[in-house]
């Protein structure tokens, strides 16, 4: 079996600087705090191996290595990482597609908690800020609210989002204004409810998106579309919201 080489981002906030593998810092004050560094590992290749399995093999070698993961099939959204400069889900990214040594870093632009584990608080706050739930004003029927297959089709490409954060953490506008710009993931959800024939809060949703930041910081750079592991298109959804705003204002 051939070996796979990975260079992995390490940050161990609790470690004593002297005890860690980190290169020594020149400055006395800096040396008191652990520093991030890249560490090289070799793991055995397996047929059809995914990046997640390589990360698990690293954890076998070094129990202190931390990363999030769970379902292993691209539906839970836990294991978003940056591999060779591109955000991806480790569990559905084949090793064979990646140039070695594979550079594995945490999702960019988020505070690092430890190794590949980042703080996603602001990402989730922006999701919550778009009121991501169906709002009905009419009394509810005894049975289902009817929806034609054509209207239901409008939700395809929207509802499948798994909140992995690959898109928003690849977005320069989100890097600059994560506190004010909703970011592609949250705006995709905003459109998911605007596009739902059952939702009855279109005006409120659009009003809440007014202003220079929440929606309009999107400059159609399309990094989100490039990286989405589910093949969704947040840029297009953002465009649709803007079109609807224009329609409603005339």
């Amino acid at each position: 079996m051939t070996a796979i080489r990975l260079s992995v981002y390490r940050y161990q906030p609790d470690s004593e600087p002297s005890a860690s593998n980190a290169p020594k810092s020149d400055s006395e004050s800096d040396s008191r705090r652990p520093k991030p560094y890249m560490q090289t590992f070799e793991v055995q290749a397996q047929p059809g191996m995914m990046l997640r399995e390589a990360l698990l093999a690293i954890k076998e070698q070094d129990e202190t290595f931390a990363f999030r993961h769970s379902c292993g099939e691209g539906v839970c959204g836990s294991d978003g990482v940056n591999a060779n400069g591109t955000n991806c889900l480790a569990c559905i990214t084949p090793i064979a597609d990646l140039k070695q040594p594979i550079q594995v870093r945490p999702l960019p632009g988020r505070p690092v908690i430890r190794d590949l584990v980042v703080d996603m608080t602001q990402f989730y706050e922006q999701y919550r800020a778009v009121d991501p739930y169906l709002i009905r004003k009419d009394p509810l029927p005894e049975q289902e609210i009817r929806q034609s297959p054509a209207d239901r089709d409008k939700l395809d490409g929207l509802y499948e989002c798994i909140l992995c954060g690959c898109c928003s953490t690849a977005c320069p506008s989100f890097w600059w204004n994560p506190d004010k710009f909703h970011g592609p993931a949250a705006l995709l959800q905003s459109w998911r409810f605007l596009a739902d024939s059952r939702d009855q809060a279109t005006d409120e949703r659009l009003d809440a998106l007014e202003g220079p930041y929440k929606l309009f910081r999107c400059h159609s750079i399309m990094n989100c579309v490039e990286v989405c592991p589910k093949g969704l298109n947040p840029t297009q959804a953002i465009g649709r919201i803007k079109e609807l705003m224009l329609e409603q204002s005339v």
Partner: protein
């Protein structure tokens, strides 16, 4: 570890451990009623394993074909091999209908029929008129129904302002001298700090434990945490020998291929290209019950008719359905095949093998989701303040074998039932019971055991050994000698886990510590499974004994109870009496 008194305490009316469909549906009911609700989850809620459920949720809406909740009830009782409790099954099948409408109103993007109603597909074990023609009872959002439901429930909980403790790991229940549950000790994974959550009521909704097997459709997080917490609190586990092997996991890898693939018209073939289910289930064919289909696949392979170079799998054909049906109705399956097998299922058949999937057994509850255990006044005395729902619980609606589409239904109906009963419990018991330091000691001891330093075996090695052991000694087909040997090996392994050591004692986001605590849980549920299976010397549902191939209603129409203290077995009767209709008496089970 911190001294007991210095631990921070939080107080809630309801503590819900687990943020899958059961936990979130209970939380929604309670938060909408203005209770103080805490949901503790070791992962961000939408990472819970409900997200991976594919095919759908059963309800007799009769949107596609004639249907009736009573037929659903018959199919579920028969599917359970008559071990299911018929009062609970009646409750579930009746409640299914309003439950699905409620989900739809909450926003679940169900697929639709031309008349705008919810799309329903055929699934295994479903019939019209009590065993007649195939029914179409499974409400679906393409093949991503669990994802659609979990995200919708999380979203509605955001609206209802439920209090979430994301990435907190529940260590153990807190129990007082009278056996009442006062909440739980939990660990903040990010900081590594323990926290006491004192609560008037506690709901265990922690899901399954597929990680006890080497190859499983289950996620890394499915480690039986709630079941093991119940065991350590003195509550038995019920019917743990009944573990479902899903007929169609991706061979050698384990990813789930939904039964909906067969519901849409797919079928299984062996190395001769023969449609072998014709021989095992002449009427229902590939939509026979899961235990039947899994045994048929293993039998084909054992008799030399497996496919591939090693003749160790069979093939699931859906290519004859056409690319439109496959890609539109089964988009998630299409993705899995492309990513993990490099094939398009609309063009090539899928290699599949029965894969560890679902626990029919679990924490014993009544149909109000209250945990019940043997005590002074009988086998089903309520444990005050403790509830369980979903895969970690055993109501029991699945008995010896669960029907596809009934697990999403179970979590929703009994999650909600737990919420309803918690409302009345809190109204009648408005004050917290007194908390004493001594009640916290067992859970703090459990944490400090993993703080010991020095030499010792590694968690990862022991976990791998456990998973191989369970696969070898408690799989699809079982016998006395193999299982007895398994029990002895597992006792040895359990003793070694006691002396294992962590290398990593850091505080911040220490996943090695979490995996060690999970290993404790896996060992406990593994032992419950093996012990229960060893003692039941009959074949029923998913529990298939080659040395006892017949069902034995005379001796075994009863529920198993495993107690951790002394690895003891106990038994209690099946509730064969429904609430309003006639009982379905045991009959030979043919499909």
């Amino acid at each position: 570890m911190a001294a007991v008194r210095s631990l921070p305490h939080r107080h809630f009316d309801a503590l819900i451990i687990g943020a899958g469909g059961a936990g979130l549906n209970a939380a929604l009911r309670l938060a909408d009623a203005d209770l103080r609700v805490a949901v503790v989850s070791k992962v961000f809620p939408t990472r819970s394993h409900t997200v991976a459920a594919q095919g759908g949720v059963n309800a007799a809406l009769a949107n596609a074909l004639p249907d009736n909740w009573h037929w659903h009830m018959f199919d579920t009782v028969k599917g359970s091999d008559y071990l299911g409790d018929q009062d609970a099954i009646e409750t579930m099948c009746r409640e299914a209908i309003p439950t699905v409408y409620e989900l739809e109103h909450a926003g679940v993007p169900f697929s639709r029929l031309d008349n705008g109603r919810i799309y329903q597909r055929a699934f295994g074990g479903q019939s019209q008129h009590f065993g007649g023609e195939q029914a179409a009872r499974t409400c679906a959002a393409a093949d991503r129904t669990g994802h659609a439901i979990l995200h919708t429930l999380y979203q509605q909980n955001l609206r209802a302002k439920t209090h979430f403790f994301d990435e907190y790991f529940a260590v153990d229940l807190i129990r007082d001298d009278e056996g009442a549950i006062l909440g739980a000790l939990v660990l903040d994974i990010e900081s590594g700090e323990p926290l006491v959550i004192a609560s008037k009521t506690t709901l265990l909704a922690t899901g399954g434990h597929g990680q006890v097997y080497r190859t499983t459709t289950n996620a890394f997080i499915n480690t039986g945490d709630g079941m093991a917490m119940a065991l350590r609190a003195g509550v038995p586990l019920q019917d743990m020998e009944f573990y479902q092997f899903h007929p169609t996991g991706v061979a050698g890898k384990g990813m789930l291929i939904t039964e909906g693939a067969r519901g849409e018209g797919g079928y299984l073939i062996n190395s001769d290209g023969g449609r072998f289910m014709e021989r095992y289930a002449p009427h229902a064919l590939d939509l026979a019950s899961r235990d039947v289909v899994s045994r048929s696949i293993v039998t084909e392979i054992r008799e030399g008719r497996g496919c591939g170079p090693n003749k160790d799998y069979v093939l699931l054909k859906v290519d004859h359905l056409g690319a439109d049906v496959v890609h539109q109705r089964l988009p998630g399956i299409t993705d899995i095949c492309r990513v993990f097998l490099g094939i398009d299922p609309a063009k090539e058949p899928i290699p599949v093998f029965p894969t560890a999937h679902y626990a029919m057994g679990g924490i014993p509850t009544d149909r109000y989701a209250r945990v019940v255990a043997p005590a002074r006044h009988g086998p089903e005395e309520v444990v005050p303040g403790l509830y369980a729902a979903g895969e970690c619980a055993c109501v029991s609606v699945h008995g010896a074998n669960r029907l596809g589409g009934n697990s999403l239904l179970d979590i929703l109906v009994f999650g909600r039932a737990a919420g309803t009963d918690i409302l009345s419990y809190v109204a009648e018991n408005p004050h917290h019971r007194p908390m004493r330091d001594a009640y916290l000691e067992p859970s703090l001891d459990r944490l400090s055991r993993w703080e010991r330093r020095g030499e010792g075996e590694r968690v990862a090695d022991l976990k791998a050994e456990l998973r191989r052991l369970m696969e070898e000694h408690c799989g699809v087909f079982r016998d006395q000698a193999t299982m007895a040997e398994g029990v002895e090996k597992l006792k040895g392994l359990r003793a070694r886990v006691e002396n294992a050591r962590l290398r990593d004692h850091s505080q911040t986001f220490n996943t090695a510590r979490i995996e060690a605590l999970e290993l404790d849980n896996l060992v406990d549920v593994g032992m419950a499974t093996l012990m229960s299976a060893l003692h039941r010397d009959e074949s029923r549902g998913a529990h298939s004994r080659v040395d006892h191939p017949e069902r034995d209603d005379e001796r075994w129409l009863k529920h198993s109870l495993y107690l951790r203290d002394g690895d003891r077995m106990d038994y209690k009767p099946v509730r064969t009496k429904p609430l309003t209709v006639d009982s379905f008496p045991p009959k030979p089970r043919v499909y």
